[in-house]
């Protein structure tokens, strides 16, 4: 086989490798999706973040609008400080609220944003004031048990209340 042919074949081989990498990066991984684009940061403090992890999705009305980029403990208030990056295309009113929700019964946890009614929008670096913590199953069961002990017979109602 001529030298030229070998060079062409090796060129094809390397090109095939690059195509494979592009396929893995674009079609089979998250490059070119939320996280690589233009984003702004907002923070929120939660009493309990449950099982929220870095890179967890931030959704509004179920639509992916951003990702959790940092989780820390605020040592002043002993609350979980969650940093989120939200795509610049999605602007939210200043009094929007953040909840930690669970996808399905045993699914991953994510941050749900509910828009408020303020005219001004959240600016980069702002902190979301209204938050609702993750529902921790143990606490829920604990409340259910104590509620049951307190008022025998009224347990379903009290469970429904505390479960909210």
């Amino acid at each position: 086989m001529g030298k030229r042919n070998i060079e062409i074949l090796v060129g094809l081989f390397v090109l095939l490798g690059m195509l494979g990498l592009v396929f893995l990066a674009l079609q089979a991984a998250n490059l070119g999706r939320v996280g690589g684009g233009d984003t702004y940061k907002v923070q929120a403090r939660f009493d309990n973040i449950g099982g929220l992890k870095q890179r967890a999705p931030v959704r509004s009305a179920g639509v992916l609008v951003g990702r959790v980029t940092g989780i820390a403990l605020d040592t002043q208030t002993y609350q979980g400080l969650v940093t989120m990056e939200i795509e610049r295309a999605f602007q939210f009113p200043k009094d929007s609220s953040a909840k930690i929700l669970t996808a399905g019964v045993l699914g991953d946890q994510y941050v749900g944003l509910e828009p408020g009614g303020d005219d001004a929008n959240l600016a980069p670096g702002d902190t979301i004031a209204q938050t609702q913590s993750a529902v921790v199953l143990e606490n829920l069961i604990g409340q259910f048990m104590t509620g049951r002990a307190d008022a025998a017979g009224a347990a379903p109602a009290s469970a429904a209340e505390t479960g909210k």
Partner: protein, 259 residues
Amino acid sequence: MEPLARLGAIALEQFRGWGHAAFFFLQMLRAVPASLRRFDLVVAQVHAIGNRSLVIILASGLAVGFVLALQMYYALVTYGAAENLGLIVNLSLVRELGPVVAALLFAGRAGTSLTAEIGLMKAGEQLAAMELMAVDPKSRVLAPRLIGGIVSMPILAILFSAVGILGAWVVAVLLIGVDAGNFWSIMQTGVDVWRDVGNGVVKAAVFGVLCTVVALYQGHETEATPEGVAYATTRTVVISSLWVLGMDFILTALMFSTP
């Protein structure tokens, strides 16, 4: 006292071997710049090592993708989570199976041929003849093969994973009927380019260096007899495979220990 001395002797012999191999590796590295000036030699080696391993790598990747998708489907469908199939297949291929299985195949397909080639060159005193003609066999023979292996291995691992994912797509979406949109989008949400794909490529590059160095070292150190070459070839496969499996555990622990 005698068993203790024997243990010591074995350990010392091991260390001597490792030191010798490391020294051999460094000498080859020093010859790399010189061999890059004869770039056609490197291209020929990429062809011999990379291109010619392509068929076995692609066929194995496709088969692994098929089988993984089928088995995962049977397990996942009981939990109603068949859509997560793509994610599981992707992560297991990109992080572990792609680099490791490609490296094992690479050791079997390319490593053995390197060992046999160098071993026979040595047995035929071709390397010694080169030195007599003031041609450095390290930069003329060994270094181009080292570069060829290091270039080829990550490409082969990437193709293994890519073809495996396509195979899983064929089984899951085309044959079983898992929803194509969910298949890709759950995969895209769960797989990170740098953390998963990037680290997989780094792993493959490490395995490429390991397998090629082991193959060249075994060939270079072979006894100059037919049995010696046969023995060296066998040892190449065994030693590279063990190194790849051991190194994979260490790299996985380093790369993916944080959730």
